[in-house]
């Protein structure tokens, strides 16, 4: 029956803000990429008392410019897609701790505790780890000191700063070749340096770069140092066969040598594979009861937005099933 005269006031009730450190949530979702956001939507629709802890929203989508394989959109601006995901999550008033890194995740007495770098701890009965990956560093002298001073890991974000400049790209895979194409769009003079013999990028991508002609390809060379004090001025490379060292002048360097899983906070808690990825089964269950993994941080192959989103949904439903089965909700 409809009640046309009915109205309520909820002005004194609590808006979702930050998670409550005193409360034990049904589910904590750690991370803010597509896996985490999808998990949050599914958890909210199951009316789980859930909260999110993340440094930011969007994950690696924020590092690309366009997405052409999200079903329903032949081409969509990556920022718009990430924004729409975030808006969807926030429509549920899920408490969100934003802007902090995770320092530890532990489990004691059936309760998970997530500690952030500001010293706050949050608690839950189940947890979804969806922390994604980060760029693998070169680990050479000068790298840490020159981040943001000509040394970058994200061409989508930073390529426009190198218009008509000399730039080195480290790497030999798809992301390195894509970075070269991004830099050529801003008329940069590019040297691509691969540490091993043989390029790993898709042949079609290699052909697109080679057709441009304005790229120097340096195979089998190791970058041993990034030079510069306030700004990158060059890199020193070593031929891996002859061991001959050369100095290349450069205004900038992009490092595109792969990604590492953000699994450090759980490295002493769950089983990881040899690459540091969290081992999950087909129900997103890790080696620890009640702890689920989703997205790029896990062993699930093919790191794609649509796969991460699907895995996030699956992890949330698995967590819900677990809570029901154990009569925890």
């Amino acid at each position: 029956m409809d009640f046309p005269t009915f109205s309520i006031d909820t002005s004194l009730l609590e808006e979702a803000t930050e998670p409550d450190p005193e409360f034990t949530y049904d589910l904590l979702i750690v991370g803010g990429g597509p896996a985490a956001m999808s998990a949050a939507v599914y958890a909210a629709r199951k009316m789980l008392r859930c909260a999110m802890v993340t440094r930011d929203f969007g994950g690696q989508i924020r590092e690309t410019s366009e997405v052409e394989n999200w079903l329903g959109f032949q081409n969509i601006n990556a920022k718009d897609l990430a924004d729409s995901f975030e808006e969807h999550v926030k429509s549920f008033d899920i408490p969100i701790k934003l802007g902090t890194a995770i320092t530890a995740i532990t489990k004691q007495g059936g309760i998970f505790t997530v500690t952030t770098d500001d010293g706050t701890s949050y608690h839950s009965q189940t947890l979804i780890l969806s922390t994604g990956k980060h760029h693998r560093p070169l680990n050479v002298p000068g790298e840490k000191e020159l981040v943001g001073k000509g040394l970058a890991y994200c061409a989508t974000c930073d390529a426009p700063f190198f218009k008509k400049k000399k730039v080195v790209v480290a790497g030999g895979g798809n992301s390195a070749f894509t970075t070269v194409l991004d830099l050529l769009k801003v008329e940069a003079s590019v040297t691509l340096i691969n540490a091993i013999k043989g390029w790993q990028a898709d042949t079609s991508l290699q052909e697109r770069v080679k057709q441009k002609g304005a790229v120097t390809l340096l195979d089998n060379h190791e970058i041993i140092r990034v030079e510069g004090s306030d700004q990158v001025t060059g890199v020193v490379v070593k031929n891996r066969d002859s061991h001959k060292e050369d100095k290349l002048q450069a205004d900038g360097i992009f490092i595109e040598i792969g990604l590492l899983p953000n699994s450090d906070p759980v490295k002493d808690l769950v089983e990881l594979n040899e690459h540091g990825e969290v081992v999950v089964d087909c129900l997103s269950q890790t080696s620890v009861e009640g702890l689920y993994g989703a997205g790029d941080v896990t062993t699930v192959p093919h790191k794609q937005i649509v796969i991460a989103a699907g895995e996030g949904a699956k992890a949330a439903l698995s967590a819900y099933d677990y809570l029901m089965r154990k009569s925890l909700i």
Partner: protein
Amino acid sequence: MALLKDKDKTKVTNTLKGITKPVTIVMFTQEIECQHCEMTRTLLEEVSNLSDRITLEVHDFVADKELAKKYGVDKIPATVLIGEKDYGIRFFGVPAGYEFNVLVQDIRDVGKRDPNLSDKVLTELAKIDQPVHLQTIISPT
């Protein structure tokens, strides 16, 4: 049609998330419901579905007159909030409008077994040594 919109539900859920102990809502209506009885019952059903620690009991004011008498219910719709004991909390009429805030906050306080009052107020209340009947009469504005 649901009385609570999604936005209302999330705010109620957030407010009730601090509940740690069971809460029983005892509601009195009657077989042939007046519009306000039906409205109240529907609202309480929706609210009780938002926390697994809330149980809703719906009783017939006429058929269960002994129970109504026990709770001091002499008119309907009536809503009684019970925790580990009866704290004497009653809502008569539809807890709609601004009073909906009060209903949800009272459910939360009963569920936390915490009246949300300062020590000073509790000390003063402890000095009351004879029965006191408080009745707040409100009207929609």
